[in-house]
Amino acid sequence: MRYSSIAKWQYWTAIVLLVVLSIHLLFRILPGSYDKSLEYNQVRENYSNNLYIVTLIVLLFVALFHAFNGLRVILYEFSPRLGRIATPVILALGIIFAILGLLTMAGIYIFP
């Protein structure tokens, strides 16, 4: 893949993130206070909302791509060699954290 097309991916994931992350943060202020939004039942209730689960899955993948690709870009700017070496490591880490996030959502969705 050409570098320029990966740069475009960074822009388009940014646009998606602006929308999806706003919804995610809205769910933190909807319960009315910070402490309330962190209560165990409140946290689990959020996951039982079908539309919100879809939002979270999109957020998980898009945020991981944007964040880890951003780290890769910084490494490439330091030295292209470092960037090339780090790419498979960053890809592997991204897959691991995506699976962990999906496991959390699946666990709560299946056993509410």
């Binding site: 822009y11 940014a14 646009i15 993130l17 602006l18 992350l21 943060l25 202020i29 909807l30 009315g32 206070s33 910070y34 402490d35 962190l38 165990y40 946290v43 689990r44 996951y47 998980l60 945020a63 991981l64 964040a67 880890f68 951003g70 780290l71 910084i74 880490l93 954290f97 962990l100 996030g101 496991l103 959390t104 666990g107 709560i108």
Partner: protein, 151 residues
Amino acid sequence: MAESVLELAIKRVMGWFLPVINLERVAYILHRITGFYLAIYLPLHIISTHNSLNPIAWGEELKLYSSPLIKAGEIFLIFSIFFHGLNGLRLLLVEYFNIFLPKTMPSSLYLEKILSLHNPQKTVLYIVYILSIILTILGTLYLYNILTLRW
């Protein structure tokens, strides 16, 4: 005598940065720092929310969140989210969609003048700074439960 040598050294070091330190450059540096901070936060957030599968583990998690060090980290997190988001939106509009560009490009021979932003880009950058500071203050008040909402 020792003081004057130190002063001279500080002046020399500052001299490297002063001609190029302006709000655009600060925004560039801050975008990198906040982006790096958010990229480190994201995996930690995925790991910590995994504890919501278990009520006892979640209780331990909440105890951790109330420590002052984590609170300080969260205040910088709030600033990072708003600054990176708003500045990212500005960069998208200017660089990708070519909105807010000056009508005529500056014809100055001075490199610094060509490189620095021109209106309306400059105004948009100021709005980004002001909005992110206001939102960080509101977010911090919400973090300490000083600000609560009733729907």
